[in-house]
């Protein structure tokens, strides 16, 4: 009986394994990031996201591509580090005979970068049995609510303190995400958390007076970016006159920058895994 039982159990396990590996997990999960030339920062953000995804999907191979040619060139020149562009990664997948693919961008919003990489990926659609694309960080309303919870947990604030998150900003219509997130923070009971952007709306000129009106004891500045790279190091926390840190201080506010990319947060890493699971379960 015990022999029969273990045989039965074995068959069941094989069936389960096949079920999850073949029918669900793709052969490859391609994680696409903008990229960063800050090696140490990459280790705690992009590397960490990729590693967490690999742990969550042990039956899939996790591969990497960057969208920024400038960063790819710089890493190749400086560090002899070869990183695929999206097209190179797709060509390699085709050459390796990969048939089932999930692509997960680590981008924050559904902007130009996302549109471009999606077009590059889908150009190879006829050479795969299945390509599925995970959504960027801020896509569904649930995503926004989860990000709000994550940010509140990572940056516990006193009532008389304020937090300003620096987003990238874009001319793409998806730029509305930043103002929406700002609205949702306030609607969710956090009048002291603000979103501003470097290259879009809301601009610093709008955020600064709003923060001043609260007269906070301390303002924390942090990136609403996956990687604390150039923007965080220079535009946010730099010592130059035009950094947000200096501008907030010159406006008479006690200001402290925090250089943590959102990719460092376990909750954010988990959210990408949820996005991957969501597309895998789609038909």
């Amino acid at each position: 009986m015990s022999k029969f039982f273990s045989l039965f159990l074995g068959v069941l396990m094989i069936a389960l394994a096949f079920g999850s590996a073949a029918a669900e997990a793709p052969e490859v999960i391609l994680v696409i990031s903008f990229g960063t030339s800050y090696n140490d920062t990459r280790a705690v953000t992009i590397d960490a996201i990729e590693n967490t995804i690999q742990e969550a999907f042990p039956d899939s191979e996790v591969r990497r591509a960057f969208t920024s040619q400038i960063i790819i060139d710089k890493l190749a020149d400086r560090d002899n580090l070869v990183i695929d562009t999206v097209t190179q990664a797709m060509e390699r997948l085709v050459a390796d005979g990969v048939k089932t693919l999930v692509v997960q961008p680590t981008h924050v919003i559904n902007g130009y970068e996302y549109d471009d990489l999606a077009a590059e990926v889908y150009a190879f659609a006829d050479q795969f049995d299945s390509i599925k694309m995970g959504a960027p960080l801020l896509s569904s309303t649930e995503d926004y609510l989860k990000i709000i919870d994550i940010i509140k947990a990572e940056y516990p604030l006193e009532n008389d303190e304020a937090l300003v998150l620096m987003g990238h900003g874009t001319h793409h219509f998806a730029n509305a995400a930043y103002a929406a997130l700002d609205y949702m923070f306030k609607a969710g009971g956090s009048p002291n958390i603000f979103i501003g952007t470097v290259e879009g709306y809301p601009e610093l000129d709008i955020v600064l007076p709003a923060v001043q009106a609260l007269n906070p004891t301390t303002v924390y500045l942090a990136p609403l970016m996956v990687v604390a790279g150039d923007h965080a190091n220079n535009d946010l926390a730099g010592d130059e006159a035009d950094s947000w840190k200096t501008i907030f201080k010159a406006a008479g506010l006690r200001t402290e920058p925090v250089l943590r990319g959102m990719g460092e947060f376990k909750g954010v890493q988990q959210l990408y895994i949820e996005h991957i699971k969501a597309v895998i379960s789609e038909n």
Partner: protein, 481 residues
């Protein structure tokens, strides 16, 4: 008699000629130096100073400006951004069509062996077009003087060069003497690139700068990554083995952003155990100051000495006076009191980018040759002194007085004050644009009140400003955790 006379005249003439010939051919050093062999092995003869020069390397460009030969430059490679005037020269590229260079009709193009190795056909095209090409690069610091003299010879500035070199070496020697007298030596790790955490070799310019600045290199004796390279292997493991020994951590950054910065170094696994990281003594130095063959090497040596021995190198005693302070004084006091690292742009695209406020090197009244250029630029770029932005050209107005509000503002921005236990009463708070500056000075006893009034418009003496900055010292901003 006649004959004899003639004869003696003849001999006299012959003698004179012989002396002259000797002078011209070989006995006089100045004449011998009018030809030399360049670093590609090319015989170069200078019959007259060159007047239409294109420089294909940023250090050549900078050195020519130092020699006072900036006006002979008709173009430069795009990496030439110091002094600021160099950034506005027409750009030429050795990776592009040589016809563009030929069309500019230069009488001299100065390259370096790297270029002739990489693009031999570019150099060949210039020479075929009859343009004089000279290739120079001092592989070692010992060869710098010789290299600098060749640039001087090409432009007819030999005398200036000798004065500059004498001064350059005297100043370096002075720093060396001062730091040599300090009994407790600081130990340094120098990161040249964050890839595999490499350092520099002992005989590299940066390695030499550490020695000259009186530092002990924790990575002394590190082997070059490839023969002849100034970059040396080291790695995280050996850094961490020496964690207790590293008093100061210096990271070199430049166009390639090679080394880490204060934040990225701090977040590396295990790096919190490094003494310099715990003490907040991580410094980022621009590669142009320590790894490029130019006179800013002196600035680099002084800069490293400041990181190592701030109390000695940033001596404030010359400002502890009762004379009224000018903006020039304020800049110097902030620079030294806060031990601020010198600012210089690292991007070669700096002058192509938009800058909302001041642009480095563009003050009409503070030229790059000003003795306080570095201190003033560093303070202004950090937004610590307000500028009058109404004029058409940028002016710093170095001789204008400094008010108590100016000082309060500078201290507020460059320091981080905690929340005060209680707010001090200040009677004229509303007289200031940003009362927070004044309130903080009163709350933390940085500047005294006069019968409860701050008097923001009152002019200060140098000594009063020094006193305020010394009181503010405990609140100096450190890298955020």
């Amino acid at each position: 008699m006649h004959l004899t006379n003639r004869k003696s005249n003849f001999f006299a003439l012959m003698l004179t000629m012989a002396v002259c010939l000797a002078a011209v051919f070989g006995l006089q050093p100045a004449a011998a130096a009018s030809s030399f062999v360049d670093d590609d092995g090319r015989e170069v003869t200078v019959s007259a100073p060159f007047e239409r020069i294109i420089s294909m390397y940023s250090a050549h460009t900078e050195n020519l400006y130092d020699l006072g030969a900036g006006d002979t430059l008709i173009g430069a490679h795009s990496t030439s951004t110091f002094p600021a005037a160099a950034a506005f020269l027409p750009r030429y590229d050795y990776n592009a069509d040589p016809e563009k260079v030929i069309a500019a009709d230069p009488d001299l193009v100065i390259i370096r062996p790297f270029i002739s190795k990489r693009n031999p056909e570019f150099v060949e095209a210039l020479e075929t077009a009859g343009i004089q090409v000279v290739s120079l690069y001092p592989e070692k610091f010992e060869l710098f003087d010789d290299y600098f003299r060749k640039l001087a010879l090409l432009t007819g500035n030999e005398e200036t060069a000798e004065q500059i070199l004498t001064n350059f070496h005297q100043e370096i020697q002075h720093i060396s003497d001062v730091t040599a007298a300090i009994p407790e030596k600081q130990r340094v790790f120098f990161e040249s690139t964050d890839t595999n955490l490499r350092t520099v070799t002992d005989d590299s310019m940066a390695g030499l700068a550490i020695q000259l600045a009186g530092g002990i290199n924790v990575a002394a004796g590190a082997e070059p990554t490839t023969a002849g390279s100034s970059i040396a292997s080291f790695g995280a493991e050996r850094i961490l083995e020496n964690a207790d020994e590293i008093d100061v951590y210096i990271s070199q950054r430049g166009a390639m952003n090679a080394g880490g910065n204060q934040h990225t170094i701090r977040i590396r696994p295990g790096f919190q155990t490094i003494k310099a990281v715990q003490d907040g003594r991580i410094y980022v130095i621009n590669e142009k100051m320590v790894s490029s063959p130019n006179l800013r090497f002196l600035t680099g040596v002084r800069e490293i000495a400041r990181y190592l021995y701030p109390e000695v190198m940033d001596d404030l005693s010359s400002w502890q006076t009762d004379t009224s302070a000018t903006r020039r004084d304020l800049a110097n006091i902030i620079f030294h009191a806060d031990h601020l690292p010198i600012y210089t742009p690292s991007s070669s695209k700096y002058y192509e980018e938009d800058h909302s406020g001041h642009v480095y090197g563009m003050f009409e009244d503070i030229p790059w040759t000003d003795a306080d250029f570095d201190a003033i630029e560093t303070i202004v770029v950090r937004g610590l002194i307000e500028l009058d932005e109404t004029g058409e050209v940028e002016r710093f107005n170095p001789d204008e007085p400094v008010t108590r509000y100016d000082t309060a503002r500078a201290i507020f921005i460059s320091h981080t004050f905690p929340e005060p236990d209680s707010a001090a009463a200040v009677s004229d708070l509303s007289a200031a644009d940003h009362p927070a500056f004044i309130q903080a000075m009163a709350d933390f006893g940085i500047m005294d009140l006069n019968d409860g009034a701050f008097e923001p418009d009152r002019v200060m003496t140098c000594g009063e400003i020094v006193d305020a900055f010394l009181k503010a010292q405990p609140y100096l901003s450190k890298e955020a955790e």
